[in-house]
Symmetry: C2
Subunit: 280 residues, 2 copies
Amino acid sequence: MKTYLDCFPCFINQALRAARIATTDEAKIKRVMDEVGAMFREISLESPPPATGRLVYQKVHLITGNPDPYGQLKDLSTRNALALYPRLKALVGESENRLLMAVRIAIAGNVIDFGTNRAFDMEREVDTALTRDFDTCDYGPFEDAVAKANEILYIGDNAGECVFDKILIEALNRPVTYVVRGAPIINDATLRDARQAGLDRVATLISSGTDAPGTILETCDEAFTSIYNQAELIISKGQGNYEALSGQEKEIFFLLKTKCPVVARNMGTEEGDLVLKANP
Amino acid sequence: MKTYLDCFPCFINQALRAARIATTDEAKIKRVMDEVGAMFREISLESPPPATGRLVYQKVHLITGNPDPYGQLKDLSTRNALALYPRLKALVGESENRLLMAVRIAIAGNVIDFGTNRAFDMEREVDTALTRDFDTCDYGPFEDAVAKANEILYIGDNAGECVFDKILIEALNRPVTYVVRGAPIINDATLRDARQAGLDRVATLISSGTDAPGTILETCDEAFTSIYNQAELIISKGQGNYEALSGQEKEIFFLLKTKCPVVARNMGTEEGDLVLKANP
């Protein structure tokens, strides 16, 4: 997905929010504003937004000295999500269509996102996600693809959300390789977060090697791109991975909640929609 | 008022909105983003926000070639406000305290603002402004100051709002000099807009000479600053004039609706409040 003009105010907003979490030094936060603003000239509208997100958070790190402003919030998200796990697991057990319910739960988990401008209430969002219709539902093809797949490459998004992904992985009934980021970026899941969520008990955990908030292949390591190229079926969670992978010629199912008007417009949906979308 | 860190995303938002009204050429709009972003380094947190607003809209003009993106919206605002005028005039006539009602109406008119992020509904806002309490009400001192004044310097803000100001000027029962901007900037009133609103029939119209969206004295012409320095009582409308004049040692009453969290915080009020505040 390309960068839209509306992304520019959002880049500044994200930089401001992250810098304020990283430091209380107003002069340093002002410098983050200055440096991110000065960076606009180098941002091509043809680049995916997470490529700029990566640079924005690098500036925050460089100027504030804090490499992981969202670290504590990630731990809190995981703890809150783990507290919900028994209830989510019971919901799947009671469902007529367990895979569909697990998909809904995995999408509900995508509400956990400190990068976008939306505030969220994890429990309320779960309730909504479990009852409302999908707005773009490729569930049929998804069910078929899972049935045919020998194994699945599952690209995760945020910490906390990992717990919801565990529910879906358990329902897929296939060997799963679960992919996390190579370094802390916003509240995206790393190996540490995936392990805290217990994903190491249901999937093979690997890092993509990227430090971008989305799986931009040029920023991933060779070990991952080799696995990616051979994957027969990919589940991609969240906006950042959609923004990075939507142009790819692979069998990918994007599971996400649209959290900004730009991604919603690009997908042909409304902001706030629950989306299960086959690529292309 | 100084510039807050929250102003930076807002500068970019304003630049984007104005550029989109000024042109449909995406490359030019991108250049506006680039140039405004690059400008951040030169913005001191000690400067009043309208000083940057001025530079932002200069960039929009320079890059898009459109000197007055909001011209048509201003005309529409004035027409809509003129259609409300008979009803507003009747409301004052029926009031027990005509001056207070006229003050409320003048503040209600301050909702007309295309610079901030708020959408507005002129008629609904008028209804709200006429019934809700002032959140910072220096009405007593205001009434006394008007009674004692030989003449009043009234610094206007936006086109359309001028019609609401006419209602207050008619209720003041004092000679009024009404001040407009020296050049089009956002939807701020110029001489043309004030005349369209019929203000030339109730006040002496002058320009401050500024091309900023607020009366930053350093950007005003000598004719105005001389009148300003001699003024015994000043009525200042809107956020931009408050941001520019709030540090001044003059008898000023600020009449406005707070339309952004930064100004609200600075005034010690909530966003959306109706404010009549004596300086200091």
